[in-house]
């Protein structure tokens, strides 16, 4: 993948435009999905899920600045798919040895562990986000999903300084946390009735 294209991809993801990512997704889907099928006897559905996860992983690394270039994107994406497939296979095996596993506080809060997020929490947050105004929603998404820095947020939202952006983001987050807490309480109260 050419450096210019890679830079264009990073720029577009930062402004929430998924056009290039989608064309990358479409360009390599067939190769990765079919290869997972014949090399690992993976079902089409599982292979599709793995491929989507690999693309999201790739996206996340690009927006986080952890990846600044890839020479052979097709091989990179397939490599990620294969790695994810083998990790999941190992996790399934480890279930039988769960008794030997220790509880780690850090693991509880680690970023990788949040795929286990409860469906309830996701529903409340989705609902909570809808109670916020558009600017707040966009600001939180820009920070937590597009991983924009405070400088970039200040520029995007025409704010006077990164400090102002930080205060705004903090206020929006507290509003969201309060809203989600409220939704959670109402849901729990309804459930106990």
């Amino acid at each position: 993948m050419e450096q210019n294209t890679f830079s264009a991809l990073a720029r577009s993801l930062k402004v929430g435009d998924n056009t290039i990512l989608t064309s990358i997704f479409e360009a390599h889907s067939s190769y990765c999905i079919k290869r997972l099928g014949y090399r690992h006897n993976c079902s089409r559905e599982d292979a599709e899920d793995l491929y989507i996860d690999a693309i999201l992983n790739f996206r996340d690394k690009v927006v986080a600045g952890k990846l600044t270039g890839v020479i052979d994107l097709k091989s990179y994406l397939y490599g990620t798919c294969e790695h994810m497939f083998l990790t999941r296979l190992n996790q399934q095996k480890r279930v039988f040895h769960a008794a030997y596993e220790q509880y780690h506080f850090e693991q509880e809060y680690s970023a990788d562990n949040n795929e286990e997020m409860s469906v309830d929490m996701l529903t409340w947050v989705r609902e909570g986000l809808s109670t916020l105004n558009e600017k707040c929603r966009d600001l939180l998404t820009s920070y937590y999903f597009s991983r924009l820095s405070m400088e970039e947020i200040a520029e995007k939202f025409n704010m006077a300084s990164p400090g102002v952006a930080k205060v705004s983001k903090s206020r929006c987050l507290q509003r969201l946390v309060a809203s989600v807490k409220n939704i959670q309480q109402v849901t729990n109260a309804n459930a106990t009735r």
């Binding site: 050419e2 210019n4 294209t5 830079s7 264009a8 720029r11 577009s12 402004v15 435009d17 998924n18 056009t19 290039i20 989608t22 064309s23 997704f25 479409e26 889907s29 067939s30 599709e48 989507i52 693309i55 999201l56 996206r59 809060y109 970023a111 949040n114 795929e115 997020m117 409860s118 929490m121 996701l122 409340w124 947050v125 989705r126 909570g128 986000l129 939180l140 998404t141 937590y144 999903f145 903090s170 987050l173 507290q174 969201l176 946390v177 989600v180 807490k181």
Partner: protein, 250 residues
């Protein structure tokens, strides 16, 4: 003693999640973690911020799943049609390649290239994506404007598939210009030819002008003359330029 987290606690938690605790704040944070209510608040707030990301990821995941579904349906229903289409494209490319070869032999390629360079100006672009009255900063425009035609072409190819007819015509015109700049005049000519079928007279004239230039670049001078004569018969702004270029070709 267990205390309800106050505003300072909430900010401390937010800083911890964002990885922005100072050394002093880190100590305070560790002390506060002995308070069950504080620890619970941390867990809750972390779950909320992680969920903001996961909710967006799920939306994207849904879109990708729909894409795969569409691809599957297209593959199942369009196999026959696509092979027929491929045949027409192959035939068109063959005709253009043959015409190019004949004229390369007949014409002086250097003079064609000189004329092309003398008359060619990149199609001016101010904004590709239009959402109502607002123009978004578009990576294709940025790439095109900075002369990064390979990236611009890459993005435009994807955009055209999703664009409305009017928008797609404009995008094809820009993509054709990218191809011209990249020396891929065959691909450019095919796109301009498509835009020449437009109902919009301005776009039609733009496309005809660039089509003539692509033909010149392919040393297809005889056909370029026909295109320019057609352009002269219109009321477009290109009339005088077309007449001048025709003179130079003669």
């Amino acid at each position: 003693m267990q205390m309800q987290p106050d505003n300072e606690d909430l900010q401390l938690i937010e800083k911890f999640i964002d990885g922005e605790l100072s050394i002093d704040e880190r100590k305070l944070f560790q002390e506060r973690m002995n308070d069950e209510a504080f620890a619970k608040q941390l867990h809750f707030q972390r779950a909320v911020t992680d969920s903001v990301r996961i909710v967006q990821e799920q939306e994207l995941k849904k879109k990708f799943k729909q894409r795969l579904e569409q691809q599957r349906m297209t593959n199942e229903t369009g196999t026959g049609e696509s092979s027929r289409r491929n045949y027409y494209w192959a035939a068109a490319v063959l005709v253009i390649a043959l015409a190019s070869t004949i004229f390369i032999v007949v014409q002086q390629p250097d003079s064609s290239e000189k004329l092309y360079l003398a008359y060619y100006q990149p199609y001016p672009v101010t904004g590709i994506t239009r959402d109502g009255s607002e123009e978004k900063q578009d990576p294709a425009v940025t790439a095109y404007g900075s002369g990064d035609y390979r990236s611009a072409a890459f993005i435009l190819e994807a955009k055209i598939a999703e664009a409305t007819t009017r928008n797609a015509e404009e995008l094809k015109l820009i993509l054709g210009n990218c191809y011209l700049q990249l020396g891929e005049q065959n691909k450019a000519a095919l796109l301009f030819k498509q835009v020449m079928q437009s109902d919009d007279p301005v776009l039609k004239a733009d496309a005809s002008w660039y089509f003539a230039l692509a033909q010149i670049r392919m040393s297809d001078v005889a056909n370029a003359k026909v295109t320019l004569q057609d352009l002269m018969a219109t009321k477009s702004a290109y009339r005088s330029k077309a007449a001048q270029l025709l003179d130079d070709l003669d």
